[in-house]
Assembly symmetry: D2
Homo-oligomer: 347 residues x 4
């Protein structure tokens, strides 16, 4: 283990960033990551364990102000951005110019089609550069883009909901098994950490507990990622997120009409083949996954149920929105980028 990689995290104080810092700190291939703070954020805490006493006694978690020079002096090679979309959009061109590789956890670079990107209303300083990077960025689903990720300068880590749905649909989509005329329904349910750490009325305990609510009906930001990765059109997918009274975890119930009659075993076989080399996807032989099975792990769990007609299929997809849906997948991407084992640091 000659070389140890120096990484940096900007935005370690949010839920995903904290999870990321925790994973990186224990990763056997890495030096202690540099934890960087945006100016003015989190009241200027001097270390992450001031904000998360969970970390006490588990190492040094000093938070430093963001600075290109500091990163350069420390020999940072890989920068993780757990920042707002707009800030990622602003920082990535400079980071690449300085020779850093980047895994961006925001939605800034995930979308290839301008129509899908419109929902974000980015204001790019240099539209030409931005367009080049939109084209260059690799969508960071290792199960779909492993080879490109290995060589990528810029990896756009997928959205949490999007990961859950894309991994459930990709095997069918790529095999031409989705009846596209009929359309796909994605009824997704997520824990509250997916909404971020900022205290808003929506995440007040009394608004979430003992409750369930649907939101962003027909226009959630993650829809574009799903369309592009599965190869469907907006008119063919309905995606409905719901807010669950739990801290973390996503379960997506996905309804597909198969393009041809199949048996349940055939369908399971399609998934098993597709993910035979994917260490972080588990395909259930019997029954369907529940949220609790994958929480606090990097797994995406998939299970299916097929109606007697052999056409109406239900796919259940579960994952932890902060791990496989964010920080864990970011580390998995790093593992692929640097030729480490895909499970390293994530057990």
């Amino acid at each position: 283990m000659a070389h140890e990689l120096q990484t940096a995290v900007l935005g370690a104080t949010g839920y995903s960033g904290f999870e990321l810092a925790r994973i990186l700190t224990r990763h056997p291939r890495l030096k202690a990551p540099l934890l960087l703070r945006r100016e003015g954020s989190e009241g200027g805490a001097a270390s992450l364990d001031e904000l998360y006493p969970h970390l006490m006694g588990q190492g040094a978690f000093a938070l430093e102000p963001f600075s290109w020079e500091r990163m350069s002096a420390a020999g940072v090679e890989l920068l993780f951005l757990a920042t707002p979309h707009e800030l990622s959009r602003e920082l990535v061109p400079e980071a690449l110019r300085r020779g850093l590789r980047v895994v961006d956890l925001s939605g800034a670079w995930r979308l290839k089609q301008a129509a899908n990107r419109a929902i974000y209303t980015f204001k790019d300083a240099d539209a030409t550069v931005a367009a080049e990077l939109d084209a260059e960025a690799v969508f960071g689903a290792p199960e779909l883009h492993r080879d490109e990720i290995a060589k990528a300068r810029l990896v756009a880590n997928p959205g949490c909901y999007a990961t859950s749905v894309i991994l459930a649909l990709a095997p069918l989509g790529r095999a031409g098994l989705i009846d596209q005329d009929h359309g796909v329904i994605c009824d997704a349910k997520s824990g509250v950490s997916g909404a971020g750490k900022t205290p808003t009325a929506k995440v007040h305990f009394c608004e979430v507990a003992d409750n369930l609510s649907a939101y962003s009906l027909l226009h959630h930001r993650h829809l574009g990622e799903i369309l592009e990765q599965v190869g469907l059109k907006e008119s063919q997918v309905q995606f409905t997120p719901h807010l669950l009274p739990i801290p973390r975890g996503i379960l997506s119930t996905i309804y597909v009409r198969l393009a041809r009659k199949m048996t349940a075993d055939e369908v399971t076989g399609v998934y098993r083949d597709f993910y035979c080399a994917a260490p972080w996807v588990r395909v259930y032989a019997n029954g369907v996954p529940q949220i609790q099975y994958s929480v606090n792990t990097n797994y995406c769990d998939l299970g299916v149920a097929l109606a007697a007609d052999g056409r109406r299929l239900i796919v259940i997809s579960c994952l932890d929105n902060l791990v496989k849906g964010a920080a864990g997948q970011a580390v998995q991407n790093m593992n692929v980028m640097y030729g480490y084992g895909e499970r390293e640091g994530l057990e």
Copy 2:
């Protein structure tokens, strides 16, 4: 208010029965209900407030052993059955023979078609009588069958999930607005009290909390009620229940392809017209309901979202599974049966 009705409840110790006893005790038109206990149940508690200290100081809640004679002596006219399906199946013929009217909260008498009823595997003592009563029983959705309920001897109170879905689909179904070729998806989520009071592994706190699970995929008991009431075939409806980590409340997310292009206002108008005389259905003009809005009330809340194509419709339906989904609806049925105001005793 010359006459006060004498009612009895068999099975008051379960969650629905307790809710029912609580509502009936406060109902302005009623004498104190007779609370009856099945032999051997609940360790022979002498009164309901031994089991539910919530009731202390709010009246007499004596529990007596079930007996036809006791009911007769007390002048019972209406019997509520909050009993297992099999027991309702057994008791109802005798109850009607004795001149009682019955509101049955179980699934025993809800289904008209033998194929749908097959899921219950009833063993009827007298198949002819049972068949007659299957035909005679009125499905107790007052919004759909008010006139028949008013005259009914036997009202089959709908299932909680079924109520949620049927009230969401009936206005469209009766107006021929559902594209039946395309099919309907009902993705439903329920609190734990819907699973009953018996302690099982499934309802252990640690199995439910921080979790979400789908169950009974493609074959839940309530599907038959939905099909019969909305007028759809099994191949046209997918119903997927999920267990939420909350004590009570149901939210159903229902996906329909409209038979013709409409505007959202038109759709809302269809619902408003259909429920203009229904005091316990609320149609949202803007936005969609959440579970917490209807918990502890007898309301079923409905709201819609329509895609830009004017065809892909999402209906959100919320209610409290123990009130509108069980005890409250049973009392609403009683109100209709006896000509009381439909809101009486339920505010």
Copy 3:
């Protein structure tokens, strides 16, 4: 029922205010209450059911800007203040000057001793008037001050924690049964609604769920009320609040050394005698109350356990912080002030 009282509520948009508006609207002795909004609050919602869709279809809940003239024109006799302490401190002198009676739900007027009041750092416009009103205000625990409340112009509705502890200790304290040399421990646990509706980091779902935390150790605001009402000194009482992962409800576990050896039945007898005319306190003959028994009611539930030595006593006290701990008790105070039945409007 010749006369119907006109009330007004300022601050109906918070959790306590909403609960209050809901109770008052259904109260049989009242006209529809005037719901008043502080300038700039809640984005200028025109009615309470915009903020709480729960209320849809249950009456008119128009919100109007606060105005003395509007209240005068409407014939308001009684003003409920569900406002920040400082605002109550400012408005009450003027309200009384204008002939209104006031039930104040804030902490502004609860404390008689300047030392206890110091924690609030009020800035009174007229210190003399404020001092007079401090003396005149009646602590609104009807179980302790029924006669004074009946005649009061200004009733200071107790704090939620304080109600829970005071009702548990008063019977012992007034009978001289507390060993004052030994001191009293009050270990209290509250649901999140007690922290108010403002979204803060502390009430973010992810900070509360799956968690328990102690806070304000040794210096919570409600300690002063406890000391004054029970007749103890600061050195004799320890009060430790904890934040529970539930929306509502308080359970206080209170440890007392009795001044003399007693039996459990004797102790229960002391409570039963003390509360024999109190319709909203329930004393448990066997066992101890749980939070769920009193949630959504105006009851304070009390139960005791006594060690074999006949001296070490544990009192468990439960109530709903938004009802008996706030809005319900405010209505109970109104009932006493106007000679209504103490249970009216609160069943």
Copy 4:
């Protein structure tokens, strides 16, 4: 790392046993543990991941019927018992006779004084042997008995509540800083997994959610462990457990009168000195711990608050009842018994 230890777990299907199997499977010093099932338990599942799909893809978790011969053939040196008290009482003599070392997670061997043991009503086959083992067994709190544990044949892993309270009181007790005349109050709150996996009415989701309840007032089984380990008499300690609506975690709020006036820093210093060599106890310099900080870790977190009088002390103690309160501590004991690093396998 020449030698790899062969362990076995009897009772791996319960919550503690599952946690234990999971930790042991990843422990760097161990061979895969033998997972043994009591006859008739858990429907004869063939492997642990049938019961806990969480484990899928993480190794082999075959469950085998309990057999001394099987253990012998496999070369088991250390047996973990996650069994009912009575069964541990029965099996341990034979296990020791066969040369195994044992870490017992039940309450069978924790108590030295017959009076404290009386609560368990054990029926020993050979009272003499049992008495010898009662004397020989080492109470498995490594922070208190590290040297004896290192040499022990039989380690009695402490109760979850007991661990929480003992670690909070031992530093004061051993330094003579507890005012014993005054007595100690331990107000403890635990998540539901502490009650075990058996579905009972008490752990039904609807009985626990939105609730808090006190239980076993004045006579909980863990009191004896606390008395013996801290060196106090029954008349000097009150221990009150409460059931929290969370899956896991304990917070104990402990009230002590110090034997002499101290400063908060002095008290913190006493704890820091006492635990200077204890890698799994964290003493907070400022503020107090919350449950979420230690959940899913093997830490016991301690923090204090001291009244202005320098005598009235509150200690807050938090831990995860399944880790530091059960399986994690059992592994920590193993680490001490075999000379491994005390943190190994527990990070």
